[in-house]
């Protein structure tokens, strides 16, 4: 069964063009880019070509791109670099809805002597800017706010953030793992100091990421070793994946318009029809400022894992904000931070699209999902009909 893949915020299909660009680097061009001989050295030139493509996608200069192994490494590198370059400052400010790569790192740092402020969000997942401003101090070493939320797709006001933070001289890092490739990004337009991204969210393979470090930003490497990446990240380059990420950068740039028109249209159609056909259904998050591909929908009084597994029977792949799928017992920290009621949080499903999705796929979900929800609701002791008067 061909999967109906609607879990692109988890990972994306590697574009065939990307795979093709990588293959020679597994077979023919296996040289080490650091070598003196032409055989290796020419690989180094291809890496720089990929770097230029990556930089183009972000509006950066090639020398501002550091290749890493994943989004998490980029995040850790950024935060630790900011803290090491400002040893006197002991305060970190971030949001309550960050990806675990930032959230768990900050919680860890809070135990090792740093003070961390987690800025709350409102019921639509919008950042409380007043709270943020009130909690900036002269002791603040770094502010880290995601560009777009992985669960809801809600986009934070990056322009406003950079304005506030640069005025206060605070280093600004953004985890843009979900945003890069889906919405236009220009790091030169605003003062972003560091930006993390991950290859496998934009049709490159898993195991490759990048960190943008604005020229002039104080930096120290996270992986200490050789001189690779101009001494900013030790370790022999993941050549094939870097080439793939370069190709993927071009690929998503070519499809940026499609992502924001056709993909957005499909997402909106899916969302509207599901809300229309299924009662007691809510869309989570600020729908005015949202990624074009993401929809977080809560089906009240049923539980997410059950929905996912029943959809799985039809080959539909999505993910859930419920507790049961992750093995933790509480629903997602993002939905909780937004104050989404438990009735809805446990039954939240995230659909995340890509350019590979088609309209017939949407129609199939719209056909298959309502009976699944009906069936689970008929089983639920809390469901008393669509009047919403469940106990």
């Amino acid at each position: 069964m061909n999967p109906l893949y609607f879990d692109n915020n988890a990972t994306t299909r590697v574009a065939p063009e990307v795979v093709e660009s990588m293959l020679p680097y597994f077979t023919e061009y296996y040289g080490n880019p650091s070598s003196m001989h032409t055989f290796g050295g020419s690989v180094g030139r291809q890496i720089n070509d990929a770097r230029a493509k990556m930089a183009d996608l972000l509006g950066a200069s090639p020398e501002e791109i550091v290749f890493t192994s994943c989004g998490t490494e980029s995040d850790s590198t950024a935060i630790m670099a900011a803290l090491r370059s400002n040893p006197d400052k002991k305060h970190i400010i971030t949001s309550r809805v960050e990806h675990p790569a930032i959230k768990n790192l900050c919680e860890y740092l809070a135990k090792t002597g740093y003070r961390v402020t987690f800025v709350p969000v409102d019921h639509k997942g919008r950042l409380d800017m007043d709270y943020l401003i009130r909690h900036l101090t002269d002791d603040t070493a770094i502010a880290s706010f995601m560009w777009a939320n992985n669960e809801t797709g809600v986009i934070f006001p990056i322009d406003d953030l950079t304005g506030i933070l640069s005025e206060r001289g605070v280093i600004f890092h953004t985890d843009a793992v979900q945003a890069v490739g889906k919405v236009p990004i220009d790091v030169k337009k605003t003062r972003i100091d560091m930006l993390s991204l991950s290859g496998h969210k934009l049709h490159a393979p898993k195991g490759i990421g990048a960190l943008y470090v604005r020229k002039g930003t104080k930096f120290s490497p996270f992986l200490i070793g050789g001189h690779q990446e101009k001494g900013r990240r030790g370790g022999t380059e993941n050549v094939a994946s870097i080439i793939g990420l370069g190709r993927a950068s071009d690929f998503v740039a070519e499809h940026m318009t499609e992502e924001n028109t056709r993909v957005k249209f499909l997402r909106d159609k899916l969302e509207t029809q599901l809300v229309q056909k299924i009662s007691n259904t809510l869309v989570n998050g600020d729908t005015d400022n949202r990624l074009p591909n993401t929809s977080s929908i809560a089906f009240e009084f049923v539980e997410g894992e059950s929905i996912l597994l029943m959809m799985n029977e039809f080959g539909i792949c999505a993910s859930s904000g419920s507790a049961c799928t992750s093995g933790s017992l509480e629903p997602s920290h993002v939905l909780r931070a937004m104050g989404v009621p438990f009735t809805a949080a446990h039954g939240t499903i995230r659909f995340s699209l890509s350019i590979y999705n088609t309209e017939p796929e949407i129609d199939l979900i719209v056909e298959k999902l309502p009976p699944i929800i009906d069936r689970l609701r008929a089983m639920s002791p809390f469901w008393k009909g669509s009047c919403g008067c469940a106990t």
Partner: protein, 276 residues
């Protein structure tokens, strides 16, 4: 992705005995929306006092639905005395096993069964005995103790897998450990004997604890604390920031600040607030 057995998948995708029974002989309700799973179990007896019909309604994940379905199948044809002997392990076995993290689904089945039988016997539903240990999921010491005993659990993690206790904020982990220790017949680990400190050492240690442990925690909520004086075992502090106006500050002072200082400095300390 969970590794569910074929039997779990079958009972999830084709659950047996879904629904309600009108005028049931026994009903047991457990769980809540907030907890993420809930089960209402119904049964009806025949003339021979055997369960002739058992039905359920469940809100929850695949293994919760499968456990409920399995339980009803196990119940039909049994006398209440026989039914009473069903443990959560029996339910899990019937399904060919459950992932470790999902054992609480089988415990939910057993709890509902127990409630339904109690309901039938008319003994006014036993009040939840014992004291709440896990406030996040409303689990009592009696429930934890029983599950630890029946399933031979030895770690907090296992207790969380089986009854959810400890799976939220984590504040109850010490209490859960105590219960496990009691069941296992172990004494609580002897508290570290506090070394005898000179006054100077004591003050230094208090300062360090405030700076490294307590301040960062209070700062998180916008509060702060200042050490004013140490006289004997009396530690005088002043609360600042949001702590100064917070109604719960006295609780924070005793339950957190004093507890932390007692733990990390010496157990004799008493914290007092100085107000101006």
């Amino acid at each position: 992705m969970w590794e569910y057995t074929d039997k779990v998948k079958d009972h999830f995708l084709n659950p047996r005995n879904v629904g309600e029974i009108e005028n049931p002989d026994g009903v047991g309700e457990v769980g809540s929306l907030a907890c993420g799973d809930a089960l209402t179990l119904y049964f009806k007896l025949d003339d021979q006092q055997r369960i002739k019909e058992a039905k359920f309604k469940t809100f929850g994940c695949a293994s919760a639905i499968a456990s409920s379905s399995a339980l009803t199948e196990m119940l039909i044809g049994k006398t209440l005395e026989e039914a009473e002997t069903i443990t959560n392990e029996n339910i899990a076995e019937y399904l060919g096993g459950l992932p470790r993290e999902k054992m609480h689904c089988s415990v939910m089945g057993r709890d509902a069964l127990e409630k339904a039988i109690t309901c039938y016997r008319g003994s006014a539903e036993k009040k939840i005995e014992g004291d709440i240990v896990c406030e996040c999921f409303g689990v009592t010491d009696i429930q934890i103790e029983r599950t630890v005993r029946e399933n031979h659990l030895t770690t907090i993690e296992q207790v969380t897998d089986y009854v959810k206790a400890g799976g939220g904020c984590g504040n109850c982990h010490d209490k859960i450990q105590e219960i496990i220790n009691t069941v296992l017949g172990k004494e609580a680990p002897a508290r570290k004997k506090s070394p005898v400190l000179t006054n100077l050492q004591k003050i230094k240690l208090i300062e360090q604890t405030l700076e490294r442990e307590i301040k960062p925690a209070l700062n998180k909520d916008g509060g702060d604390i200042e050490l004013i004086d140490v006289s004997g075992n009396i530690v005088q502090v002043r609360l600042r920031g949001t702590c100064a106006t917070c109604k719960k500050s006295q609780i924070t002072l005793k339950n957190y600040v004093e507890a932390k200082l007692r733990e990390l400095v010496t157990p004799e300390l008493v914290v007092e607030e100085v107000t101006l």
